[in-house]
Every structure is written in C-alpha cells, then in structure tokens.
C-alpha cells in the first residue's frame, strides 16, 4: 500500500502525471474512485480486496482528461479495457501512466502496451464459473421462458443509463439512444424502449466487452445485464477466434471476416 502512495506521490511531484485515478474510502464503508491531483492527497489512496471496479472508463471522460496526463491503478479487466480502447484509437501508447494492481495487492508499472499485452496473455480472461452456470441455465430454457425471464428483469429497468455510464466501452459522445432522426430507440422506459435499448447495447458491445461486470454492478435494479454481453463472448471466440481487449492493434471481430466463417442458418 505505502509503496503505491510513494509511487503516486513521486509521479505527481515530478509532474510526470497531473492526476492519478485510484481507489479511496467512500461513505458507509464503500469503496469509491479517487482522482488524486496533488501528492498531499496521495495517502488517501487505498487498495483492498474490495477494490474491484474497472477504472478504465474514466480515462475517456472529458472532465478527467482535461486535468492533464493521467495515471491509473488498473486491475486485469481495466488493462483489457485499455487495450480495447487502444484498438479503437481512443488511447495512445504512453499517453496514460499505467500502474497494474495485482489481486495480491502488489503493483507493477506497465510502461507500454507491449508489456500490458504480454501480461494479459498470462491471465485468465474468461468469465467466472458462476456466470457460466447462469448463462447455461438460461440457455437450457425454452425461447419463451427466456423471453419471460428477460421481460421480468427488464420490467425493473428505469432507463437510468447507469450501465452505459459505467461501461468503459460506452464512450460515444452521442449514444444511439440519443439519436432521434430517426428515433431508433424509443425514449420512454416502456417495454419496447427498454428491450430495444438493451439489445442495442449488447450488440454494440459484442466482441468489445471485456467482461468486467461494471454494467451489472452499476445497475440500481440489479438486472443481470452482463449476461447479455457475456453470452456473446463464447460464440465470438469459437466462431471468429477473437477475444476483446487482448491487443492494442487488434481488428474488431465484426469489422473483419473470413471467407469461410461457419454458420448453419443461412439457406
């Protein structure tokens, strides 16, 4: 812990970064995100086993970017987000100072994307057995049962867009939901608008989602949103051999093709 603080202090002092994105104590024993801008504030940084949030999303927020060169405490999924964002030309190599936080609480500086890529290869990028099981359960259902399941879940949705705000991949300045010529996604939070929104979101994250789970965590109504995008990870891996957030110069699975891509439903 102390060495993290030392490191950040030093980084801020020698002006190599002007803001560091890390974790701090929030109210009611919760963990919150901290934006450390002066070495004085550095010691309020914490890193405990509860610090699981993927902070990469902040790297693209204009209000954060405005503060100057950023440093970030990145967990595994944050690293993958950064790789994916890089592949979408949102972050340049060296632009951000990456400190990787391992689960055991140790920190390593990752000077460039190469080192990040090398590290990611050593990690398990899959979804948890628990998540796999929940997906399997859903897949075992009949279409109708699934329809009802999601209907029930979506009934809870209040279209607060917290999932969108939390997702590091949802960085568009103008989301499709805000497009009104034509109005693809009904604004109202009625079944139609909600279903459209979530289908659209899932489809837009297909092949880009790094299964960090921020969307589900952010949902005030506890809708298991992550399952929608997680379910697509498998097929995309098996059919196209593509996994999101592995390389900084990856080509997006849906903007490339193989002449012999396999499917069994086109006659």
């Amino acid at each position: 812990m102390s060495e993290l603080i030392k490191k950040v202090t030093q980084l801020l002092d020698d002006k190599s970064i002007s803001v560091f994105i890390g974790y701090g104590k929030g109210t009611a024993g919760r963990i919150r995100t901290l934006f450390i801008r002066s070495s004085a504030a550095a010691d309020s940084l914490v890193f405990t086993s509860d610090c699981t949030a993927n902070l990469a999303g902040y790297l693209l927020k204009p209000e954060v970017k405005r503060l100057g060169r950023m440093g970030i405490l990145a967990n595994d999924s944050a690293l993958r987000s950064i790789m994916q964002l890089a592949s979408e030309f949102q972050i340049k190599d060296g632009e951000v100072m990456i400190l990787h936080a391992a689960v055991d609480g140790s920190f390593t500086e990752m000077p460039d994307f190469k080192s990040v890529e090398a590290y990611i290869l050593t990690t398990d990028t899959g979804i948890t057995p628990d998540e796999q099981q929940r997906i399997a359960q859903l897949e075992a259902m009949t279409v109708n049962e699934r329809w009802n399941f999601w209907n029930k879940e979506f009934e809870k949705c209040i279209k607060c867009y917290a999932c969108r705000a939390a997702c590091p991949m949802c960085y568009c300045h103008r989301c499709t939901t805000d497009v009104n010529q034509p109005q693809w996604i009904p604004v109202a939070s009625h079944e139609m608008g909600i279903l459209d929104y979530h289908l659209m979101r899932a489809m837009h994250l297909a092949g880009r989602c790094v299964n960090c789970g921020e969307c589900a965590n952010a949902c005030p109504m506890d809708i298991p949103l992550n399952l929608l995008t997680y379910q697509l990870i498998g097929p995309i891996q098996s059919t196209f051999g593509a996994t999101a957030g592995m390389k900084a110069d990856a080509v997006y699975a849906l903007s490339t093709y193989k002449p012999d891509d396999k499917e069994n439903f086109i006659i």
Partner: protein, 152 residues
C-alpha cells in the same frame, strides 16, 4: 374467422436477391403475397436495429437475403453481414426472440425459383408459428410512445 395472414418483410440486397426476385417475376413464378421487399444496396448495409424495428412494428416474420459468399457486388459486404447475423442471431435467441421467424438466405440474381421457395417456406413456417404475440403484447402496451416514434 379467416386464416391468419402473416406479415413478412424482406430486406434484400439490390444486386442479387432483388434481381433474383425480379427474375421470379419475369418467370411468372407465383409466391405468397404476404411478403413485401425493402431494397438495400448490400446486405452489409442492413442494420440489426432495422430487424428489431420490424418485429416491434408488427412483422410476424423477416427475410434477410443477399448475394452468395464471394458473389457480393461490393466483394465483401455479405461476409461482414454474415458475421453480424451470426452474432445478432445469438443475441436474439438468448434474449428470447424467436429466431425461427427470421430467415437468412443467399439468393442470386439467377435463382428466381429459390426466391419463391424461400418466401413460400418462410410464410408457411410463420403461419405455423402464428402471430408474434410476445412482441405484439409489449408493442401494444408501448403503443402510445411507439406512435410517438413513428412521426418524429
């Protein structure tokens, strides 16, 4: 009460399937009148959201059709489309949308007969499945704003 007539919308590419459907016409091959065709330049242009829109506006079935692989007028549009459909079909299926109601096909400009078959088979299948009640229900209950979205 009369038999249920499924509403089917076909999204086809201009160069192969649209031309193929023209050939069906010039060869006077009959097929069910339930299908209305909307022309796109290429299957690559067909946005997944247009399929969502079709269902929520009362389509009981959808046909998406374009050039056979390697025949795309733009050389790769249908390849990209194919990937998109592989993924979207997964998503629809997982979120409980009846993928049986969407027929994807490759129909070339020379396959007038095939087009007729594709249409007739799809109409038969969807007639079997009946009206898409699931979608209808939520569409109706959302009708008010759904109207709102029609004429922005």
């Amino acid at each position: 009460m009369q038999e249920f007539e499924p509403k089917i919308v076909a999204f086809v590419c201009n160069w192969c399937t649209y031309a193929g459907a023209d050939l069906t016409g010039t060869s006077r091959i009959k097929y069910a009148a339930n299908v209305k065709i909307i022309r796109f330049p290429c299957t690559g242009r067909i946005d997944f959201m247009i399929l969502m829109k079709a269902f929520e506006n009362g389509a009981d079935g959808i046909i998406v059709s374009g050039c056979h692989p390697n025949d795309c007028h733009y050389s790769t549009g249908n390849f990209h489309a194919r990937r998109r459909w592989i993924v979207f079909r997964n998503l629809m299926n997982f979120s409980g949308i009846e993928t049986d109601r969407i027929q994807f096909s490759w129909v070339s400009a020379a396959e007038g007969f095939k087009w007729a078959d594709v249409v007739n088979n799809t109409v038969a299948k969807v007639r079997e499945l009946g009206p898409y009640e699931n979608y209808r229900k939520i569409a109706v209950s959302s009708l008010f704003s759904a109207e709102g979205t029609n004429n922005e």
